[in-house]
Amino acid sequence: MPEISVTVNGVEHREEVEPRLLLVHLLRERLRLTGTHVGCDTSQCGACTVVLDGKSVKSCTMLAVQADGSELLTIEGLGKDGLHPVQQGFWDQHGLQCGYCTPGMIMAAYQLLQDDADPSEEAIRHGLRGNLCRCTGYQNIVRAVQQAARATS
């Protein structure tokens, strides 16, 4: 079995993995970082979104071995020192209900704001189109991201 090394939320992990192991299962089942969720098997829902080397990726579409040598940020690492403004935005604006899409949505929004610090509503809606939420109708998610943008700019 190949051995890989990944840095997750600042901590380096060396793991022997089966070549077919998905990155999301490495995170959830090996590293026990269960904040990253799985909502589909066709890479449509975005519940598994994490940030890998400065890009948001769907961790269900990647093999763990493909992440060898990468830096990963997951929901557990985002608010290490108090809530991140994106998390705060989701809380303040009631941007979640069941919370299942939320970690992926927050990570996608985080990366969206890294790439565009002051997005329009349209840009936010477009930027989050890879992430499904069945509960909120997205309106409060948009507000959450807008709040976070104001807070960070």
Binding site: R28, I106, N140, V142
Partner: protein, 782 residues
């Protein structure tokens, strides 16, 4: 009491949710996040055919595959478990039962046939591929109307595909009224099949411990208590040894209001293997193995006078329920029947609900459950009638509204609407949309070849479910309030929120009533070992029914606290007032005793008042005397591109009245989410089967759950007409958005295309259908 500062008001305030900090930091705990030591994984081999005879099952290769611990086959499971439970049993209904695994004849794609239990999910999936099932394909029936007209039989032994017919109203009176009506419109209206799609698929983890003989089941469910009872029967474990926990649940929308084969299988496997066994559905499995919603064809006839006064309404509804009943399947279309009358005075009304078996996934409750269909039929009917009469659809509605002074109102379907002011909601919506201006703008743009439309839906729905006589397993709810020794408060509720925020709203109620800080209240739900009794969260009932049980327990706590206070202060309990966590003497408000002090007295119990037990805890079961009937007006503004058939939803206005509001933030969120689903039914979602019974829209690639850029920002407003049914005056809001919104969209699109002669388009309104309708109206096929 004057010296004390009043604690802040909590009821009615937009308090940020207390469940959120864990959920936004990845600390939530959903079923699949739990991984007790030694957990095994269960994977299902499912029927690829809509209808087939299983002629052979060979599991030998699977049994010997790496990591496989057990293989369950139909024969084995049929001997060791009871059938998948059906609770809704209507008079005269056919009720073919199935076990958790099917051996003889499979009747829909996705029906479980074999289960594999292995050390991890990859190995279980590998082994599943090695299972060889021989099938002899049988003719399938997919179309419900064909199923009624002598298509292949889903269940041979029944000799028919008809499950049950339920009449409602006065058929003769309705027939007479329609015959004598000056104007009658007739229309076939399809309310298509939908797939609920909570973002967390179903998941269950069963753990049988041989020592104590207990079975603990963590399930992504809306009904932990009902599941406990039913699963104990199905898996044959005495109920008192079963504990069900609904941890964080990633959305339900009705589809987790059920007992599924996989729950029974996980329980059975765990009992046998004495290890934890987990099943997590893949999304593609979810599409065929979890219940679907809607799928009702309505044949509507609406009669009126020339001036628009309604005289009669008759509808035949054909409900395609799929291959079997699930927990509440048969009851869902009867909710359509109950709500046929909508917000109008209709002197004669009759409905006939025909439920039919087909070789498809069973249907059951999906957000709205029966009411969106009723609303769709009537609200489309009103627009068709307005067009026929050349009347403004708003004016027609208003003319027939039940007036604000006419409540409580008896409907032709046997309900009593509690309260309402339909004009008020409509007025507010008209003001927001700027109706008059819109109409002139619309006319102006039409000249320029642009097609804008506005559509209305004035709805009423039934919720706060409900009186136990109307529900197969009881409609009550239970709630406990425990003031701990330190004066901190624990609320235990039988409702089982999965996004609805009762950890917050119930804490608001308890904290305000007891005058403690909200941080001093903890709300516990979803664990049958902690919460002694309950029904669950569905039918927009949590606040109206569960909240009332909580209020009743708070009343009892107050009364008991007063007895302790009276005893301690040597006054009469009647002379005391309970306010803001203090009990004080009415005539001498400086004499007070605080809740923690009373708790100490209650638990130390050294000097008990006469006839008083120690402790400060109260449990109540609330049995609602009636349903509640929220209502509102939804308005859609669309522009239709007549070249491409594309629909641009420009505005959506939602004025809803759910009675008194405990937390406006949560109410708004519920409406947003409900609107998204209702709008999506009109514009995006449809479960499509091919002639072989294969689900073509079988994954998120082909079934369009709306994305962020496919919805506008909604414009919300409320009116408040409290209900007298419960002391909170709250009606419920979980489904209103879904129930009201769908017809508003279709009405708007048809309004936009009316100048071209378009009268109706069936949902979902995909561009080709829009173009076909335009072409057909022009008098020719495209």
């Amino acid at each position: 009491m004057t010296t004390q500062e009043r604690p802040p008001k909590l009821i009615g305030e937009p308090i940020k949710r207390r469940e959120d900090p864990r959920l936004i930091t990845g600390q939530g705990s959903y079923v699949d996040d739990l991984q007790p030591l030694g957990t095994l994984h269960l994977v299902i081999v499912r029927s690829p055919y809509a209808h087939a005879r299983v002629t052979g099952i060979d599991v030998s290769a699977a049994r010997n595959a790496p990591g496989v611990v057990a293989v369950l086959t139909p024969e084995d499971v049929q001997q060791s478990t009871e059938p998948v439970p059906v609770a809704a049993q209507l008079e005269g209904m056919h009720m073919p039962l199935r076990h958790a695994l099917t051996g003889g004849e499979v009747k829909f794609v996705g029906e479980p046939v074999v289960a594999i239990v292995a050390e991890d999910r990859y190995l279980a999936a590998d082994a599943a591929e090695l299972v060889e099932v021989e099938y002899e394909e049988l003719p399938a029936v997919i179309d419900p109307e064909q199923a009624l007209e002598g298509g292949p039989l889903v269940h041979d032994e029944l000799g028919t595909n008809l499950c049950v017919v339920s009449p409602i109203g006065d058929a003769e009176a309705a027939a007479r009224a329609i015959e004598g009506a000056e104007v009658v419109i007739k229309q076939r209206l399809m309310n298509q099949r939908l797939i609920p799609n909570p973002i967390e698929p179903r998941a269950v983890l069963a753990h049988y411990e041989p020592g104590p003989g207990t079975l603990t089941v963590w399930s992504s469910t809306q009904i932990p208590h009902l599941l406990k009872t039913l699963l104990s029967a199905c898996a044959r474990v005495p109920e008192q040894l079963v504990r069900v926990v609904a941890p964080d649940v990633g959305g339900g929308f009705g589809c987790k209001l059920n007992v599924y084969p996989e729950e029974i299988l996980a329980a059975l496997a765990s009992r046998r293997l004495e290890r934890p066994v987990k099943f997590v559905e893949t999304r593609q499995e979810n599409y065929v193995a979890t219940i679907h919603g809607r799928d009702l064809i309505g044949h509507l006839e609406l009669g009126a006078k020339r001036d628009g006064t309604l005289v009669g309404y008759r509808i035949k509804v054909i409900a395609d329920i799929g291959a079997y009943q699930h927990l509440l399947t048969a009851a869902i279309p009867t909710l359509t029947a109950l709500m046929l009358q909508g917000v109008y005075k209709i002197p004669a009304l009759a409905g006939e609900i025909v439920e039919v078996f087909t070789n498809k996934t069973p249907t059951d409750a999906y957000r709205g459950a029966g009411r969106p269909e009723a609303t769709y039929y009537l609200e489309r009917g009103m627009d068709l009638l307005a067009a026929e009469l050349g009347m403004d659809p708003v004016e027609l509605r208003r003319k027939n509204f039940i007036g604000a002074g006419e409540f409580p109102f008896d409907t032709q379907t046997g309900l009593v609407y509690d309260s309402g002011d339909y004009d008020a909601a409509l007025d507010k919506a008209l003001a927001i949309v700027g109706y008059d201006d819109f109409r002139s703008e619309q006319a102006r743009l039409r000249e320029a070849g642009r097609y804008l439309g506005v559509g209305f839906s004035t709805y009423v729905e039934i919720c706060g479910v409900g009186p136990s006589s109307a529900l197969p397993a009881g409609g009550w709810e239970a709630g406990t309030v425990r003031v701990e020794r330190t004066g901190k408060v624990t609320v235990l509720t039988g409702v089982s929120p999965h996004g609805q925020g009762e950890e917050t709203s119930f804490a608001q109620i308890a904290a305000e009533r007891l005058g403690v800080g909200i941080e001093d209240v903890t709300v516990i739900h979803g664990d049958t070992a902690q919460v002694s009794a309950g029904i669950g969260t569905f039918g927009s009932r949590s606040l109206a029914v569960g909240g009332t049980a909580l209020v009743m327990s708070l009343d009892k706590i107050e009364a008991k606290a007063k007895r302790f206070a009276a005893h301690a202060m040597e006054v009469q309990a009647d002379d005391l007032e309970f306010e803001a966590g203090q009990v004080f003497v009415k005539d001498a408000p400086e004499k007070t005793i605080s809740l923690p002090e009373i708790a100490t007295l209650a638990y130390n119990a050294v000097d008990l008042p006469p006839d008083t037990e120690p402790g400060l805890e109260a449990t109540s079961y609330y049995e609602p005397g009636n349903f509640t009937f929220p209502f509102g007006t939804h308005v859609a503004v669309v522009e239709v591109d007549t070249d491409s058939g594309a629909i641009d939803l420009q505005r959506f206005i939602s004025v809803d009245d759910c009675g008194n509001i405990i937390n406006p933030l949560i109410v708004e969120g519920q409406i947003h989410g409900g609107l998204a689903q209702g709008i999506a039914q009109a514009l995006y979602e449809e479960a499509v089967y091919d002639a072989n019974g294969q689900l073509l829209s079988g994954s998120l690639m082909d079934y369009a759950v709306p994305r962020a850029d496919q919805l506008p920002s909604f414009e919300l407003a409320t009116t408040v007409t409290p209900t007298g049914v419960n002391p909170l005056g709250a009606k419920g809001v979980g489904e209103a958005g879904t129930i009201g919104s769908t017809p508003a969209i279709v009405n708007a699109v048809v309004d936009a295309l009316a100048p071209l002669g378009v009268q109706h388009i069936e949902m979902m309104l995909r561009p080709e259908r829009v173009l076909d309708a335009i072409q057909a109206a022009k008098g020719g096929a495209r």
